[in-house]
Structure formats: C-alpha cells, structure tokens
Amino acid sequence: MKKLSVVVLSVLAAGVLLFVVACGGTKSVTTLVYGTTDKVTKMDPADAYDIHTWEIFQNISAGLLMYTPGTATIVPGLATAYTVNATGDVYTFTLRKGVKFSNGDAFNAQAVKWSIDRVIKLNGDPAALVTQYVKSVDVVDDNTVRFNLKGPVSYFPALVATPTYFPMDPKVYPADKIVQDVNELTGGEIVALGPYRLTSFKRDEQAVFEANPKYWGKEPNIKKIIIRYFADATTMRLALEKGEVDLTFKSMLPSDIKDLSANANLTTYPIPGQQIRYLCFETSQSVFKNKILRQAVAALVNRPEINQKVFLGQNAPLYSMIPAGMSYHTEDFKTVFGDANVAAAEKLLTGLGYSKSKPFKFDLWYTPSHYGDTEVNMAEVLKAELETTPLIKVTLKNAEWATYKKQWDQKQMPVFLLGWYPDYVDPDDYTSPFAQTEGSKGMGIYFSDKAWDDLFLKEQGATDDASRNATFAQIQKMWTDDVPTVPIYQGNLYVFSKKNVTGVNIGATLIFNYSELKFTK
C-alpha cells in the first residue's frame, strides 16, 4: 500500500475515533446548561452591584425576606415573621430555626448582624442600600434580630430582600476586606443559605451549581446547573440553536430575538421589563441648566420610532421614570409632551431666541458597548429626532464606560444616555436616585431642589398606599416641568429555551430562580 494512502487512512481513522470518543462525552439529562453574555463581577454581596452577580447570590443564598418566584410579593425567607414599631423605624425579625449554612455552620442572629455590619464597614458599591437607611442592628437573641433605622422607610422589606442584606457565614467571609473571587474564601467555596451551592467557578468560562443538601426550603427540580459564559450574542445564539445550551438569558440582539422568537423548536419567554433607558441632563452648570431647554428636548423625543427602528418593536415606550406595571406609574410625559412634538419644542426654543440661523447646539453623549450593540443606533436615531427641527444641532459623542462615568462625575456631558435596572422593586428606586439631591449627584445630573427632597422624604417615610400614591403622582407631574431626565423606553428581556425546559418564572423583580426550572419529558 502506498505511503500516502497509509497516511491518509490513518488520519481518517483518527478523525473517526475522535468523533466517536467526543460523542461519548459526559452527557447528563439532569444538568441544565444556561448561556449568558453577562459577567460576574465580585463574589461578595457587600460589593456586588450588578444584575448577574446578584442573580447568582439569589440562588446560592437567601434573605430574611424573599419574593415569591415570578411576582413582586414579599414573603418570609430566613425570617418567619417581622414586626414594625409604631414609628416605622424599628424592624424586628424572627429567624427560622434549625437553618444551617451549606457547610453545616449554624445560621443565627449573630450572622445577620455580622453581615450587615460588614456591609456598612466595607462601604462597597451597594452599601448605600444599607447605610442610607440602617442605623444599627441588634441581636435580641439567637433567633431574633432588630434593625434600627434612621427613619421610617416604607419599602424596607424590599431592601431586605436584596442580596446586599443576605447573611453570610462569618467563619468564611473576611470581615475586613471585599472578596473578589471564590478562592479568597476560607475553604475556597462560597458558603451560604440558598437552594444551590456554587461548586466551581472559572471566570468567563463557567459556573457550576449543585443542589444544596442543607437547604431549608424546597429542593430544586434540577440538581445541577452550569452557566456557560459567552463573549458575544452571536455565538450564544448559535449555541442555543445547535442545542449546546438549554436556555439563554441576557443579552441577545434585537434581530436575534426576532429570529429566535419565530423558531418553532424553542420557547420564548418575554419578561416585561423593569429596566429603563433615559436621557440625563447635567442641570447645574451646562447649557441644560435652563429647564426650558430640557423641556424642548423632551418634546422632540419620538419613543415609538426608537422602539421600532432600533429594537424592532421589542421594547415599550416609557412616559415616566417609573416603569409601566409598577405601582404609581403615570404617563405624564405623554400627556404633557407626547412624541415628536416639534411645534412645542420650537415654541420653547424661539422663546429663548434660537432660530434656524442661530440653532441650539449641544453634544449628546452615549457609551457604545455597555448597554449592548444597539446603543450606537439609538444615539443616531435620537440625534435625527432632535434635529427634526432646524433650531437644534446635535453632535454625537461617545466614551467607553470607564471614561463615561468619570465624565459624568466631572460634569463634562451636558446630556447623556443612561440605563437602570432596579435595586429593589419600588418606585422610589426609579426616582430618588435621579432627582433627590444626594442621589442625583452620583448620576451626574446634579439636580437639587428642596421641594423635591421634601417629597422624597415624605414618600420614603409614608406607610400608607394612598399617601405614597399622591406623592408619586406629584413627583411625576413635576418631572415634566423640571425634566432632570427624559424617560425613553422600558426594556423587555427575553429568555429562550429548548422545548423541554419549563419553570422559567421571572417577574417584575427580574429575579431568576433556578430552583423553579425543570425538564419535561
């Protein structure tokens, strides 16, 4: 036999053998593989402040209070009950007895206090969720813990349900530093109280979750979940279509969403969005110090056009900073300005002396990749909408995220695009960070008005629904006058899964409970 034929046959034989061996690879129908383009930041609830890392903690840990999956209803978690004093500034929680961390350490009130004190001390990214409200935490006894607040906070239960408040094991997490990675922990594993344990984590590759045998609640349906991290949406889409992953969540491109939604082999779960996108104005010293100019810009925005051209109709126009579906939402921006209200805008601009020969010129900033690949398109469509009137001339500018944040801190961007996922499910989280004096500074808006601050304090302290409803109605009305921001759209999120995966139950809270997932036959 000729040498070349031997070589060719050997190569072919090796290829076939390889194929057979590869096909015999580890396969399990009890493992669910979930693809995402999101990233984990820091493996420490005292510092993690992004939606994906919170999602991980929501599955490996638990709070004193939690949400019924798929709803915004707060129910007992690690605490079986709580009481509030008459002035609304002391919450006393009764803890569930017999609960253990995943390594067998006992869970008690001391662990709760230690965890909250740690968040306050380390002052990480989400620390304001605690420090703004909590004065101190007392251990009443092993199963009772008391939170002393700085003042009454009507949505405190929603705060307690956030991962920043989740109790961690004092024997595992260091008290004096923020943990970036799992290998910094005693034992090299996160020890927590949730339905799953994070048994393996390789940044940018995979995270492996296995059912926690010491979990105090209902056992998860699927015992092992592997998160597979993808560098881009296109590869993730291909992996889903090929069957390499069972489910994907965040973030597909609009064109992928359209195609996958029409794919008969997949199930699409649209999740009504609580994420919002909006324009911010630097209101203290830029050209937009004058609210009339802010009103003019607000009048020109054409939300349905942005939604259609950029997102193929997959999101919803937003007429208030409080998203539709949330309590106290109104449509004041629609009532007052509408969309593409060129006449109203021109009236405001000519009143200030602007004309075709002397247009109002400004820079509109966006960040090209932080919010996904559609941001460039959105900025360009917005520019075109604002220039529908010859009285405005817009220059688009962009900066990568790190620079973007620095620039808003330094008041270098007169108007810029931003986005928001809720920290806690309450209208306060969609309003006070932008228009209350302290929060507004952090967002680069620098809006400050005592009347507004008083209203925020009022709604934060109000314990009855009617009072909060009235206050938020007033705030939203005032928003159309002072216009610190212009809401644009409220985004839907999409989960795509194989037909045999059910239990995808993500509601307004955007909490994705893995324990609800199951395979059907």
Partner: protein, 338 residues
Amino acid sequence: MRHLLNYLVTRILLTIPMIFIMLTLIFVVLRVMPGDPVSAMLGGHAPQQVIDEQKAKLGLNKPIAAQYVDYLGHLIHLDLGDSMIFNEKVSSPILDKLPATIELTLFGLLASLGIGIPLGAYAARRRRTGRDYGIRVYANVVYCIPVFWMGLLLQLVFGVFLGWFPISGRTGPRVDISSFTWSGFYIIDTLRAGDMAVFGDVLWHLVLPALTLGIVLSGIFVRLTRANMLDVLKGDYILAARARGIPERRVVYNHGLRNALIPIVTMLGLQFSLLLAGAILTESTFSWPGMGRLLLERIYLRDYPVIQGVIIVYTLFVSFVSLLVDLLYAAIDPRVKY
C-alpha cells in the same frame, strides 16, 4: 558551540530592551488615555472621598513618572503587580488563561502548516496548471479574510448547518471543568485524568478555532512554500535525482520540500506574532477563554497592571519563538553559523 552560546546569550539580553520599550509605551499610553480604573471599579456612585482613597491605595494619585518607577521596581523582582480591579496578582489570571491561548495557537500553527505546506508543494509540482492557479487564488483570498469573519463562517457552516463541530468553548457545555485544572492544558489534564471522552471532546472543540487561525494563515505558507519549491526544483541535484529515475513524487516531496522548508522555518517565527493577534479575535468569536479575551476585558475595565502583564507575556512569547526559530534554522541548515 561557543558561537552559538554567545548568540543565544546576546539574543536573550536583547529581549530585555525590547520588553522595556514595549512596556514603557503601553504604560504611558494607558495612563494618558481618558478614563480611569477607579471609576470603572466603583461604578460611578462612590463619593469623591472614596474615589480619592482608592486612587491613593492604587498609587494612581502619584505622577506618572513615579508610578513608572514603582512599577519597574516590582518588575525587577519579577512581580507583575496586582490587578486594580480584582483582588488578585496579575500573574493569576494570566497563568489561568495562558494555557488556553497556547493550546489554540499551537493547533492553529499546526493547521496553517498542515494546510499551507502540502498545498504549496502541490502547486509548485503542478505549476501553471488550473490547480496551481486555484491554489494561488485560495492563498490570496484566505489571507485577506478577516479572522473573525472566517470564524463566523466556519461556525455557521460546520457548526450550525452541518452540526459537525461545536461552536464555542474549550469543552462541551455539560463538562464540569473543575476536574481538569492540573496544568490548564485540557489536552494534558484530561489524559492525566484518564477521561478519554472529555479528551476527545476537548480536541473536537479545538477543530474550528484552530482551523479559523490555520486557514487564514495558511495563505502565506502556501505562497512561500510554492515559491521556495520552484526555486529548489530548478537545482542540479533535483535534475540528478530525476536522471537517476527516482519517482517524481519522491523527488518533489523528499528532496525538494525538505530544502524548501528552511525559509519557512524563518517565516514561522514572524507569523507567530500574527497568530497571537489572530488568536485574540478567534477567542472572542469562539468564546475561547484565553489571554486574548482577558486582554480585551481588562482594557474595558482599565485594569492597567493586567494589560501591561499580558503585553509582557506576549512580547516574551514572540521573542522566545523567534529565538527558537533561529536555533532551529541553525540546526537544520548546516550552512548557517552564528
């Protein structure tokens, strides 16, 4: 031998100023660019006092020259420093991701040689025929194709439409990789663990990314091999071999190709840096968790020390491969003396 040793020592010593120049350039460029790692890290919500404290902790409040001197001081002790964004040594993510890039680069190199050299030799043998022209067109076309586009094309055709190969990652999605962390080279680790199924899976996952790199770079090897072969085939010893009745295939591939390979060895060293550059885009396309992806991610996060560390490692790699190629050149061509 003494000359070779002198040459070796000289080349190694010359690597030091090369790294120094690269490092200085990168160091300065990163720090004069707008945006800073503290803003990226703290999320834009932190009070100014916290930002200032963090900058002081990271040494970012010092003048650039002082920061540079500090950095060089660490480097002399072979300490690449600490990540500014994550609480880890710079060497940690680099050592974690490096095996993935080496695996991909090696197999990409094998693929480019495995495709380029035989095709180039065949084209030379079939000079001025349709096959020769076809191969030359192939070589020109593939070299012009952007590597990420090639990757997407292979993913679509072989991964999605035909379903023959996986399209992302180093292993199947259901493989728990925590068992294969001994060296970070999954090929070695899976063999060591005796898990032949996963070993095969790892090799299968290498096919498309390696072919992506290999096909794009094969173009240059096709052209080089063909050109060298044509030169070599004009030689007197080739004529003599034919005159002795040696079969044409043996003349071309045994006698001709061996001598034509010598300049290709030189090109190998030069192409290695292209391979590393191509690997960055290939890793993004295939979600391959290597140094290229690490570099892109840390540029986004403004993690200066890690960016600098990755550049140093890349520079060392290219230097090492160039040196190896030179030594190999001397080994295979007795006419070459240092």
